[in-house]
């Protein structure tokens, strides 16, 4: 998927553990792990809002769009 989740980068910048984020957000650690590893299918605005609020960042700092490479032809 071309949407990359940079949650681990932001956590490292804020020197925060995933467990602390999960405690402060009130979301289970397993669900946050799904988001961090890029296995999530979607993210709610409310969750994104909480992450941005706690990590003091913008949605663009968490999510990044990298287009898939076109298949080589020939």
């Amino acid at each position: 998927m071309p949407i990359i989740v940079n949650l681990d980068v932001m956590l490292a910048k804020r020197k925060m553990q995933l467990t602390e984020l999960s405690d402060r957000m009130g979301i289970t650690l397993s669900n946050l792990s799904i988001l961090k590893t890029g296995k999530a299918k979607a993210i709610r605005f409310s969750s994104l809002e909480m992450i941005c609020d706690i990590l003091e960042c913008q949605p663009g700092d968490i999510l990044e769009y990298i287009p898939d490479r076109p298949d080589k032809k020939g």
Partner: protein
């Protein structure tokens, strides 16, 4: 959770019905096999002899059999005695007996398999987590089994007529009910598609943070 107790009760009932049906199917197959192995190959006394029976509807000339109508106190209603219903009796080792044995065996396998799938659907499902990908396949399989059962009945009807009618007068047909399983099967196939979509939405919801 609401509906949890009903679900548990239905699951228990399905479990019991499965074992009862499996036991009955086994019993029928054993009895048919015993009749096939030990039964006489010649039809002697139909009143005492253990025979393989087929219900048939005969078509004699109409003028020979006038309908007998019994009128009761209910207005505009009459009880008609059916004159043209017969039972074709044959021995277990005759070609028709072998045909009946094969049909019974296939029917028993189909019923037990279908009930087994239904039992597994209930065993793998909970009221809190109703959507499982494997259950969509099981619902589809039960639907296909029901359609196949009706198709088999229809084919069996033609085989039976082909095996009997050249040798009998008046002409008769086996009494079979075709159609109900077909529609039920189609309904289950449609349900399987809806259920499969439900599984996809459920999985997507599970992966939404």
């Amino acid at each position: 959770m609401q509906g949890q107790r009903t679900f548990t009760a239905v699951r228990a009932v399905v479990n019991v019905v499965y074992y009862v049906v499996a036991l009955l199917a086994l019993l029928v197959v054993i009895l048919k096999s015993m009749a096939f192995i030990m039964g006489s190959s010649e039809l002697t006394d139909t009143t005492r002899q253990l025979t393989v029976n087929f219900d048939v509807k005969a078509f004699p000339p109409k003028d020979t059999l006038p309908p007998q109508l019994i009128y009761g106190e209910l207005k505009n209603a009459a009880l008609e005695k059916k004159q043209d219903l017969y039972t074709l009796r044959t021995t277990a080792r005759s070609p028709l007996g072998i045909y009946s044995f094969i049909i019974t065996l296939l029917g028993a396998i189909a019923v037990v398999t279908g009930m087994g799938w239904l039992r597994k659907i209930f065993a793998d499902t909970t009221a809190t987590e109703p959507f499982r990908a494997i259950n969509a396949k099981r619902i589809r399989n039960i639907g296909l089994l029901l359609i196949a059962a009706d198709a088999a009945r229809l084919i069996g009807y033609f085989i039976f007529n082909r095996m009997t009618n050249p040798y009998f007068t008046p002409y008769f047909q086996q009494l079979v009910e075709v159609g109900n399983s077909f529609w039920m099967g189609l309904l289950l196939l449609a349900l399987a598609v809806v259920y499969k979509r439900g599984v996809e939405i459920y999985q997507e919801n599970q992966l939404t943070i």
